[in-house]
């Protein structure tokens, strides 16, 4: 069996120390310094979390350790169990098995109203009969915060999300982006231990979504709240997260930093889900992988058949390598997309639009890439 990529080699201690230093201690006026004490322990721990609906398993033995101040995304196609996981953390769905520990406290025994989590729902779920200020103040009211302090914190929260002048506005008079910010402010003002975001940007148009991603990241960095984001958008997950949990059909496929997930996908599913990838049939013998008419040095790889995955942007045109013919050449603005037919299959190549010469449609050419840009996995079924 061919070896899969090594598990992400992270210096866990170093990471925790860094996160504690840069995030836990740079809390804004919104946040209480005592949280810094928790910075050295795993803040939110999901252990063997499982949810069954009759015979169907929605979430299968999910285990995840989240550090204080970390931004983790649950990424996967619809039906992969990411939303169910979030709902279990929030307390709206009861786990069939497993535990959820928050700062050493067993959350599964706590009612949703008492968990102290901040949640931003996909539809924002703003109270339509209350103004933005009243919406944001609601959580503070439930906690018995005194009126003057409520007003102060609401004003701070509105300023944080950039909506200082909209305190008296009703939701129906706000744009989608503004509603989303109010929802975020409402979740953050209560100083939650964990912030849960359920596909919060999916209802926004593409341009607004990009802007909000940048802002969301900035806000999260400022207040340092531990955050869990659920999304099906891989670009979003990669842009926002410290780590990504890739899920498929209830199971965890890989947990790693975005760069690792992208460059070193652990399974074929992960490789295919994030970005474009070419999956080519290969056979390895004595440390050399043969793909079509090309050979690559892969020391340490097990003999036998396997799949070789390589990202389109890591492939270059050369005089020697995998022979092929250019079938299509498509201009996409800041890069070119080429489809090359080879005897290892149809290969997608992405080349930057920097004025370099590229083979024309119908031309014969050769493709090459570095061995370290290629991942070997089990043959795709």
């Amino acid at each position: 069996m061919p070896t899969t990529r090594q598990p992400p080699s992270e210096n866990a201690w170093a990471r925790r120390a860094t996160s504690a230093f840069t995030r836990g201690f740079t809390a804004s006026s919104l946040f209480c310094p005592r949280y810094a004490l928790y910075a050295l322990m795993s803040f939110l721990a999901l252990q063997g979390l499982t949810k069954r609906f009759g015979d169907a398993v929605a979430v299968d033995q999910l285990s995840l350790d989240v550090d204080k101040g970390e931004f983790v995304s649950l990424l996967g196609p619809s039906g992969c169990g990411k939303t169910t996981t979030l709902q279990m953390i929030a307390g709206f769905v009861e786990p069939s098995a497993g535990t959820i520990m928050l700062a050493q406290r067993d959350l599964t025994k706590v009612k949703p109203a008492a968990r102290g989590l901040g949640i931003v729902f996909q539809s924002y779920a703003l109270f339509p009969h209350m103004t933005a200020a009243q919406n944001i103040a609601f959580g503070l009211e439930m906690r018995g915060v005194a009126k003057p302090e409520q007003e102060r914190r609401v004003a701070d929260a509105l300023a944080l999300v950039g909506l200082a002048g909209l305190a008296e506005r009703y939701p129906r008079r706000m744009s989608g982006g503004q509603q989303q910010r109010v929802a975020l402010a409402r979740a953050l003002v209560i100083r939650p231990d964990v912030l849960l975001l359920d596909e919060p940007l999916s209802n926004l148009d593409a341009k607004l979504r990009e802007e909000m991603q940048v802002e969301l990241r900035a806000i999260q960095r400022t207040v340092g709240t531990t955050t869990i984001l659920v999304t099906h958008d891989q670009g979003e997950a990669m842009a926002l997260s410290d780590r990504i949990v890739v899920m498929n059909r209830g199971r965890v496929e890989q947990i790693a930093r975005p760069t690792e997930i992208y460059q070193a996908p652990a399974t074929a599913f992960v490789a295919n889900f994030l970005g474009k990838i070419n999956v080519l049939p290969a056979s390895v013998a004595a440390g050399v992988a043969t793909i079509g008419s090309a050979r690559f040095a892969t020391p340490g790889a097990a003999d036998g058949r396997c799949s070789a995955s390589v990202r389109p942007e890591r492939i270059a045109f050369a005089a020697q390598g995998l022979a092929g013919t250019v079938k299509a050449r498509i201009f996409q603005g800041h890069h070119w997309l080429l489809q090359v037919a080879t005897d290892a299959g149809l290969i997608t190549v992405i080349a930057p639009n920097d004025g370099r010469a590229l083979p024309a449609e119908g031309a014969a050419t050769h493709l090459t890439w570095r061995s370290e840009d290629m991942t070997l996995t089990e043959p795709a079924r």
Binding site: H129, M142, I190
Partner: protein, 290 residues
């Protein structure tokens, strides 16, 4: 577009709606106008309807305490019916909304279905239940709650009970429609922010359902104030409301002008309440809802 086409375009909707419009003008507007006119006519037992214009009927209604009492009773009953219907209909709509698929549909049919049954059949059931030997009294006597049968029939209480039964589905419909428009995530959001179940109901669900409750109340009030068959059967000849009074004048006494005046007054009162309540709802909730 040529002027001929523009003219044709502009007249199409009128042509389409024309037949219905003619019917309504002829069979609704004109009769109502005639009835208003009739209320100004005079009447005598031997001369019949005298087509002169006089304020006699209106003066009678305004000054005679008999009429005042009847109208007061009518609106008092309507108010009680509205209050009780809303008090039990709104929670029921909420409970139905929280039910799962098979039960929700079944109970909705059970609650809304009676609307399709003739009001006479429904009221007959109450006449049977509320009589001195009816089941309600039998139960009360057996349980020892009363010493002698309670007189429900020919009483306001009996009328209120029967009218509540008849008009309850309208409240359920109205509140149900309001609940359907709610985003279920909103309740979850309130819970996640620490609200108890009672707080969620009071601060989150109720304010959003208010427009539905108000419009349901208006419908029930209007229908209760103008109800005829139920007060006639349960209230009998002695206990009159505005509708049965008009019936009496028209078909028993044959004093058509007076009957017409009572009817027109009822129409004006009900129309005023409907329009007033709708205005109020729109102004109060326009900022918040569609």
């Amino acid at each position: 577009m040529s002027t001929a086409e523009t003219r044709r375009r502009a007249s199409t909707p009128w042509l389409l709606a024309g037949p219905a419009l003619l019917l309504f003008v002829g069979v609704v507007l004109i009769p109502i106008a005639m009835t208003v006119l009739l209320s100004f006519h005079d009447w005598g037992q031997y001369k019949g309807i005298d087509p002169i214009i006089t304020l006699k009927n209106w003066r009678d209604i305004a000054t005679d305490s008999y009429f005042f009492e009847i109208f007061l009773r009518t609106f008092r009953i309507a108010l009680m019916v509205t209050a009780i219907s809303v008090a039990i209909g709104a929670p029921e709509a909420y409970i139905l909304n929280r039910m799962g698929p098979p039960w929700r549909g079944i109970f909705l049919v059970i609650v809304l279905g009676p609307l399709l049954i003739s009001v006479v059949a429904r009221t007959l059931g109450w006449a049977l239940l509320l009589g001195s030997t009816g089941l309600v009294n039998v139960a009360l006597l057996r349980l020892g709650l009363v010493a002698a049968p309670v007189q429900f029939m020919f009483s306001e209480t009996g009328m209120v009970i029967a009218l509540v039964h008849v008009l309850l589905p309208f409240v359920v419909i109205s509140v149900w429609a309001s609940l359907q428009r709610l985003d279920p995530q909103i309740e979850n959001a309130a819970v996640s922010l620490g609200a108890s179940a009672v707080t969620v109901l009071r601060r989150i669900v109720l304010p959003q359902v208010m427009p539905g409750i108000l419009s349901g109340s208006v419908v029930v009030f209007a229908l209760a104030a103008s109800a005829f068959a139920t007060p006639a059967i349960i209230g009998g000849r002695r206990l009159k409301v505005a509708s049965t009074l008009a019936y009496d004048e028209f078909l028993n006494t044959l004093n058509w002008p007076l009957g017409a005046a009572v009817a027109v007054l009822l129409l004006i009162a009900v129309a005023a309440i409907i329009v007033g309540a709708n205005r109020f709802t729109e102004r109060r909730y326009a900022e918040v809802f569609q």
